[in-house]
């Protein structure tokens, strides 16, 4: 007969090593000492950042009309993010500075089904454009990739060749529930019809240098094509503002 009360005894028999405990304290103390500076920054950007690596998104390349005068784009970009508690927040990317926190899905080294490993930051951020007479939107990222979640059958999950051909490099499963998921690589660009934007809930993966630092600015180019064939472009620049210790949280700042 199974005695479930023994689960408590069994789990409580697990203890972390003294070395690990000391390491946790040491790292936490470093953060605590740095806290005054972080608090000022936090107030400035009005968002809590768990570790300190911040990514800033800035609307770049101001638009000028034929007369050389500044002209705002005829569309608005909204970035939706998921926080650690699973809630979704959104921020309109206007000229005003705004910030919100993203939940980082995985930091550090990831290994895919090809056996390769690489340094990548994953974050779930959905970009949405609103405006009038828009036909389609094309997003292009200069470094990193766009990704999407896919549901797999057990057969697909087991077929490595098929997974590779579909560019599904990362897979996961819930063996007891017979559920199989994967992450499909879309590439560095994709186009979406204006009326179908809600179908795309993409992830972004950004390479880092192995020390969770982004070498250069990441630029997401947003080209909007109107129904009359004309196009407009705005760039979102993703920068890393702070590179303290290892971060598992990303914040976006919009300018």
């Amino acid at each position: 007969m199974m005695d479930f009360d023994k689960i408590k005894e069994a789990v409580n028999s697990i203890e972390m090593s003294k070395t690990m405990e000391n390491r946790l304290k040491e790292n936490s103390n470093i953060i605590e000492k740095k806290k005054p500076g972080q608090l000022n920054y936090k107030r400035l950007i009005s968002v809590a950042c768990a570790f300190g690596i911040l990514l800033s998104i800035m609307i770049g390349i101001p638009l000028f009309n034929k007369n050389g005068n500044f002209q705002g784009a005829n569309f608005t970009i909204t970035a939706y993010a998921w926080s650690d508690d699973g809630n979704r927040s959104n921020t309109k990317l206007l000229s005003d500075k705004a910030t919100f926190e993203l939940s980082t899905e995985l930091r550090g080294i990831t290994t895919d089904i090809t056996g390769d490993s690489g340094h990548a930051i994953y974050t779930k951020v959905m970009l949405n454009v609103s405006g009038e007479h828009i036909d389609s939107i094309t997003y292009t990222i200069n470094k990193g990739k766009f990704l999407e979640d896919v549901i797999l059958t057990a057969k697909e999950y087991a077929d490595k060749d098929w997974l590779l051909s579909e560019k599904i490099f990362i897979t996961m499963s819930h063996p007891d529930l017979d559920i199989y998921n994967g992450i499909k690589e879309i590439g560095n660009t994709y186009t979406v019809k204006y009326n179908e934007q809600d179908k795309y809930k993409n992830l972004i993966t950004i390479p880092h240098d192995g020390n969770l630092a982004i070498d250069d600015d990441i630029i997401i180019k947003v080209i909007v094509k109107y129904t009359d064939g004309k196009t407009e472009q705005q760039d979102i620049v993703v920068t890393q503002e702070s590179n303290s210790i290892e971060s598992k949280s990303i914040s976006l700042k919009l300018k």
């Binding site: 005894e9 069994a10 789990v11 028999s13 203890e15 972390m16 946790l24 529930l177």
Partner: protein, 163 residues
């Protein structure tokens, strides 16, 4: 009017790690089945604690908040990890002091996350169903179903092992 007392106005990280470090590590290790990932999540949870500057009503509020952060981060981490091989029983021995517990822990770790988390909070941390529902932000009926299914799965494995 009396002002509500707050549990801790200033985070004392040494106290927090001493009080909750092992508890969080156990939960994370059972969920993630990987020592390094578990340590990462625990570290991340404590740093979130420091940087969020959340005000807690009491120690139970503080503990539940830490568990919520840690389990959410575990879910995020597992989501993008390829399926890890189940923790080898020999590795498990590094953490367990009692030989008799290995089998039970092994069966618990083989469950899916959603069953593991609910069983851990119910049997190990002693939370009631409605309290777990609040921590995980799901309904009490979902918690009851997960508890029931989790127990069934462990029983099933236990039965097979002893056949």
């Amino acid at each position: 009017m009396l002002q509500q007392l707050v549990w801790s106005t200033e985070p004392d990280i040494e106290r927090i790690i001493d009080t909750y470090g092992n508890m969080l590590f156990r939960i994370c290790l059972v969920i993630l089945c990987n020592e390094n990932d578990a340590e990462d999540v625990v570290q991340d949870t404590f740093i979130t604690y420091l940087t969020k500057s959340t005000t807690f009503n009491d120690s139970e509020h503080e503990k539940a908040w830490l568990i919520t952060i840690a389990t959410n981060r575990c879910k995020n981490m597992r989501r993008y990890n390829i399926i890890r091989k189940h923790m080898d029983i020999n590795d498990l021995q590094l953490y367990c002091k009692d030989d008799e517990n290995y089998g039970l822990l092994d069966n618990l770790m083989k469950l899916s996350n959603k069953h593991k988390i609910v069983l851990l909070l119910y049997y190990v941390e002693g939370y009631k169903v409605d309290e777990i529902a609040k921590i995980l932000n799901i309904t009490t009926s979902a918690i009851k179903k997960r508890l029931q299914r989790g127990r069934e799965l462990i029983r099933e494995r236990y039965r097979k092992e002893n056949e």
